[in-house]
Amino acid sequence: MIEVVDLRKRYRKTTAVDGLTFKVGDGRITGFLGPNGAGKTTTLRILLGLVHPTSGKATIDGRLYRRLDEPMRRVGAVLEATDFHPKRSGRNHLRTLAAAAGVPEPRVDELLDFVGLGNVARRAVGGYSLGMCQRLSVAGALLGDPALLVLDEPANGLDPEGIRWLRDVLRSFAGEGKTVFISSHVLAEMQQLADEVVIIHHGKLVTHEPVEQLTARAAGGTRVRSPQAELLRETLAREGIEAIVDGDTLATAAPPERVGEGAAANGIVLHELTTEAASLEEVFLELTAEGGIE
């Protein structure tokens, strides 16, 4: 379990993380969202022991990263996709990590094939595209067969096929009951992938809840298709519910229970009654708009 408790990080005059507290449970895919400069990368780097917090703490299974035994076998991390020696081959990069972590060398070739870099494994990383570097980062993260993956913008530089590949990798990883904590700007992707999201802004927690709950709660509207849409609008208006009709479609901010009950009580035929869920992107923009956070 990842636990962040009252975490703060100040760089001279800038506060990157400001009293952040949240927990990420095991066996779930948790998205970590926030605008640029929200403090996501700083938080992840504190979690991984690369940045020192000003106060508070971030732990994995109740321990600081540097206190973990065999950290690579517990946590796999994908950070900057450019953190490679340009003259070293992808295979040799992984071999150095494997040697330090005590991972057998055949695992290196196995992972290079898995991430689709088997045919360029002996080429210097300087000749790799950003997407190939991301794949190499993912291979490095999986080297120790960890139970937790921490990823900072892993979709950067990936083409649509690469993004789909990454989604499949992470889903398959989580399908084994393992945990993924992933920061990303690709909100549509996160909506498809994540079970829950932690949203931060200006270093503070905005919300932490399941994606479905967040999008449904943020919208709270209902869309109805009915051959008697105008009659339904008049019925709802008598109950103080405003609605807009467009042909046979009616849209209202009222919850579906009230609309359905109103229609049934007046014998109005419905062909469709659905909750209008907002996209994660809409919710995210609403929650992180300037002045939108207490």
Binding site: L50, H52, M72, D83, H85, A100
Partner: protein, 236 residues
């Protein structure tokens, strides 16, 4: 610890930086020693023997640069984050890098001395007995210089800047030191290592070989300690 040591050696073997460093040393030592041997003819005095053997002292400078690269090279390419994700205990990482840099220093010293001896014993009648203390001093000094380089690389963090500072100190700082204090100048890093590689038990403008060795080891320890403090406190 041994896993990390093997990984650090693998890092060195899988890029060409240290190959270039070695080739650079071979070129510098061979050109110098051949030109000295050719121009001086026979080496006649014990002082001549020591002077020729000191050509292998190039290994001290190259070991220093090697140490800087071992540490700051990782910062330059960002690979230090990967290193710390596998081994998050920074003290351990730095100490292993010190050991690796010391080993590189020793290897560079052995190579430089072998080149000097191979050319000068048959070509210019170098007396090994007269040169042996110089050679011993270089063998002891190069690992210390490598360790000092790691400390400097950890303090300065930027590889190019750290190498620039080292060379500027050796070329300019060491020359200016006697102007500030003649007696204190004997204890500067360059002169301490110079004394260790002098092969002389006492000298006028340098410490004796033993005292020079102690001063060089102290400088290496100070830089490693400062590097450790900087490395422990740095956000990456």
């Amino acid at each position: 610890m041994s896993r990390l040591f093997r990984a650090e050696l693998l890092k060195i073997r899988t890029v060409r930086t240290f190959l270039w460093l070695t080739l650079g040393e071979i070129a510098v030592v061979l050109i110098t020693v051949i030109s000295v041997a050719a121009s001086a003819g026979e080496i006649k005095t014990a002082e001549d023997d020591r002077g020729v053997a000191q050509i292998a002292g190039a290994a001290l400078v190259l070991a220093l640069i090697g140490g800087v690269i071992v540490m700051a090279g990782e910062a330059r390419y960002g690979t230090i984050t990967q290193t710390l994700l596998v081994t998050p205990v920074r003290e351990r990482v730095l100490l292993v890098k010190v050991a690796v840099a010391a080993l590189i220093g020793l290897a560079l010293a052995v190579l430089a001395e072998a080149l000097v001896l191979l050319v000068t014993i048959p070509g210019a009648s170098l007396d090994f007995q007269n040169a042996r203390l110089v050679l011993l001093g270089i063998l002891l000094g190069a690992p210390l210089a490598g360790a000092l380089g790691v400390g400097l690389g950890a303090v300065v963090h930027a590889q190019g800047r750290a190498i620039g500072i080292s060379l500027a100190w050796l070329l300019i700082g060491e020359s200016l030191a006697p102007v500030i204090s003649d007696s204190a100048a004997k204890y500067t890093p360059g002169r301490a290592f110079g004394a260790l590689a002098s092969g002389e038990r006492t000298a006028e403008d340098l410490l004796g070989m033993t005292a020079g060795g102690v001063a060089a080891a102290t400088w290496a320890a100070v830089f490693v300690a400062a590097g450790l403090l900087a490395f422990l406190g740095r956000d990456l």
